[in-house]
Amino acid sequence: MKKYLGPLSKDNPILVQILGVCSALAVTAQMKPAVVMALSVTVVCACSNFIISLMRNTIPPRIRIIVQLLVVSFFVILVDQVLQAVLYDVSKMLSVFVGLIITNCIIMGRLEAFALSHKPFPSFMDGVMNGLGYGLVLVIVSFFRELLGSGTLWNHPVIPQSMYNAGYLNNGLMILPPMALILVGTLIWIKNAKLGKAK
């Protein structure tokens, strides 16, 4: 089990591999979309890792990127279609992310780096763990951005009205993408200070 835990800390996809940063900036203004995005990336990453790993000995290396892209888009579209019919509310929340999932570098990155050279089960676990490691960073960043930027958490107001009456203002900069970049940078800094630099 221990060998799969790397992506949560010292091999985190965002903080160490610097993958998936673009979507981490886009969806972390509030916690709810951040969590939905993290879950969908986890599902797609795990499933496509599994399938690519099953196919790995038949895939001609020259066209492997095309094959990976086909499998990933197949999963994303399939999940999207099923959600639209069965879990409509979840699908509404997800709709904007569907395109982002296909292009999420973590998925392609893990297919290339892991699934092509490992057995199906370890690949599946690798997908799950990288998805969760990605989610962990998203949750931390969105927690601070939503709290300081909108004064809410999970859409519930947490900063008492009396504070606003006393002159407190939400920090508008927090909900803009540059602040996400600064927060991710701060996390990388903390991580490097605690666990040492990536080699």
Partner: protein
Amino acid sequence: MKNFSNTYIFLYVSALVLIIAVGLSVVSIGLKPKQEANKQAEKAQQILKAAGYNVERTQAIALFESVAKPYPQNGEREKYAIRCADGTTGMVVSLSGKGLWGAIWGYAVLSSDNTTIKGVSFSHKSETPGLGAKISEDDFTQRFVGKKLYDENGQFVSVRVMPKGKYGDVKEVNRVDAISGATITSRGVDAMLSKQLLIDNR
């Protein structure tokens, strides 16, 4: 690494594409009726929300049919006469415009003399979550309730969506605050209302 022939590569990709295409088409066709039903129900729910009703999506169609009826159309916009949650009657005007990333649309319920907004609801295809996507939240739509479409001289001004502190000489009853961080989406809503509520009042 094994060496694959060109024929193998060609057949491999063709087969893969064929499987995926057929698989997705079957799924898409099979699920279409359910997806359409969901969309219809959501539309009914949205209109009802603008009229002050709070219903689950599953009950929306039934309630909609009992309180609303299509209004004779004299333009391309859909209109409905509706009995609002507070017992008064109003007219539903459908709206459509563009936000930052894609389409935005919505419904406005006007008072029977067409001068006051009784309620609105907005939807969007792909606005940024936490920013532009906030136009569909109650926090934003509630700002429109009771706003007037005309100024004190009887001139049409629509309900303007304006950033804080940049109101110019637009009076409070004719404007609402825009969403900070979502300038383009807010402008889209502003333009949508200015254009489409005017046509319906001529």
